[in-house]
Symmetry: C2
Subunit: 332 residues, 2 copies
DNA sequence: CTGAAAGCGCTAACAA
DNA sequence: TTGTTAGCGCTTTCAG
């Protein structure tokens, strides 16, 4: 049997209430008593049972984190931001992978709520009405990290995807006119926003949208390789391509290079995210800096405020993004 | 207030014990009663409180996972293996980053035990006597994933690092004689093992250990870049270099290429781990396949057995590794 | 400043 | 097959 608060009380000749007070740093304890109790704790090797505490106090100091895939370099970085801030505020994290599968997502939300998490950070694809329904029933706060709820109902932390895509495309267009776009999976809100940014820039340059300049991938390296192939097959090759994730962009670059096409001399390539991969390729990748770590950190910080019922002025946070030009695009 | 088992009992006109039985799938319930209870549950939207259950049953169905850094591509893959198997056996995971900091590690072990996890998967650097002490006091099983305890006291899952390094070095030596080794941080057991493998191969080829052929990094891309620089500065450059992680190997390759040195024509490069990075570079990286996902999965599976008090024949599991030759080394 | 006592929501004997 | 009754280990009034 493990040693309980009761054992400590007996050992220290006080009541369990007093032990509870010193363990919880309640100031209403005479220093002498406090010392006595601490000694007893030490002697017995007492370690408070957080489960019992959770049941009695209705707080578990743990938050749930639902993530599409922790082995993705993108989400892992987000997770690190979340965990660091959680630790800072003395929370632990229950982490589960959803693979963006809606059923799994709903199921995970429920098991985590069953475990009485004090809050939830959710990352995924689109937020549907079903998701919102679950969040409303949650009785604990939820924040979204790098995830969009078009209804704006759920607190969230993101960047302005459309604007970021717009700027990236613009930069490419300032060099030449034929720029392609390699998107992520269709029909997700994020993708739509990015596509809108691309289209907007094209339009402003008096260019139409040429469907053969549009390729679709799944954010993976291999799908980038395929997109490159597709683009190279065109009668009139693009002069620049904007790719919606760094990992895919690496694929695109290698796909080009494997065919003897030089980057950026023959075709320029622009990425999105600025994961660590961006500097792990030659030429180094020009890309949109999406501050994943910060998005994770801010969404967790936001969650702590919500859990403390603090007032928050803005619940749908837009973090700044920026463009970094490296060697996969031509200098001015 | 949330709805409790008691509310359901009243709603269904049965005792809470019966509700508990149906919730837990106890077969000793008349089908009609079971149905009645299920309906009441549905009607009330009852969701069992896992914390109360944990307190009463002394099982939380959650396990702790201590990991150096979830944003590392290597550990993230391990974590995915752990989480998948945990999910399969109906456990959740509390995940925390230790940054290989011993104090943090010890602290995390304690908070997780305080949260009454049913077991612990630990990843880190070396296991010290202090670690072992904590594990012994744990009262729940612990397994190590890709982490060595020289005392063999703690159950673990690894590959044979020395042998893997030996094979990799041998392959390089079969092409030419001057092979360098870029190690991870000194003084860790894993690194010592790998170094021993390298030395053994050199010795068997009648070669001495030339200190200037030994570089040290920290597994990061940038430290690979630096190692390359150091190696290129040598009066007599190496003909091959064995690098103790893929990420560093990418750095080494780019460090070479940036100086106009061709890989593998001028210098061959061999990696370790076979992370996804290995195919995301040109030339693609020849490397040692360390099955990270499997190591995570097996260590979690081992933990479930230990938690169930099942007999396990081998508690220090060595998984097979293999060599994959790609384009950063010369074909035979 | 300290103690007594009533739960928190559930499981697990033990009876019936 | 079902109900009764103790707890699990801690927090939290409420008294004193």
């Amino acid at each position: 049997m493990n040693v309980t608060i009761y054992d400590v009380a007996r050992e220290a000749n006080v009541s369990m209430a007093t032990v509870s007070r010193v363990v919880n740093g309640n100031p209403n304890v005479k220093p002498a008593t406090r010392k006595k109790v601490h000694e007893a704790i030490e002697r017995l090797g007492y370690r408070p049972n957080a489960v019992a505490r959770g049941l009695a106090s209705k707080k578990t100091t743990t938050v749930g984190v639902i993530i599409p895939d922790i082995s993705s370099i993108f989400f892992a970085e987000l997770a690190r931001g979340i965990e660091d801030i959680a630790t800072m505020y003395n929370y632990n994290i229950i982490l589960s992978n959803s693979d963006q599968n809606k059923d799994k997502e709903i199921h995970l939300i429920n098991t985590m709520l069953g475990k009485q998490v004090d809050g939830l950070v959710f990352m995924g694809g689109d937020i549907t009405e079903d998701h919102r329904q679950e969040f409303r029933n949650a009785s604990v706060p939820v924040t979204l990290a790098a995830t969009l709820d078009e209804s704006m109902e759920t607190p969230s932390v993101n960047i302005d995807f459309e604007d970021a895509a717009y700027e990236a495309t613009n930069l490419l267009l300032s060099h030449s006119k034929r720029v392609a776009y390699v998107s992520g999976p269709d029909n997700t809100i994020v993708n739509t926003r990015k596509l809108n940014g691309y289209k907007k820039a094209m339009k402003e340059h008096g260019l139409g949208i040429d469907d053969e300049l549009l390729a679709t991938g799944d954010y993976s390296y291999d799908s980038g390789l395929e997109a490159a192939e597709q683009l190279l097959d065109l009668d009139e090759r693009p002069s620049g391509v904007f790719v919606s994730s760094d990992e895919m962009a690496l694929g695109v670059i290698h796909g080009f290079q494997d065919q003897g096409v030089r980057v950026p001399e023959d075709i320029e390539v622009f990425g999105f995210d600025n994961t660590r991969l961006a500097t792990m390729i030659r030429p180094t990748l020009s890309t949109v800096v999406q501050p994943m770590y910060d998005i994770g950190a801010v969404s967790m910080r936001l969650l702590t405020k919500l859990m403390n019922k603090e007032e928050v002025e803005e619940t749908n946070v837009i973090l700044p993004h920026r463009i970094v030009e490296r060697n996969s695009t031509n200098a001015e």
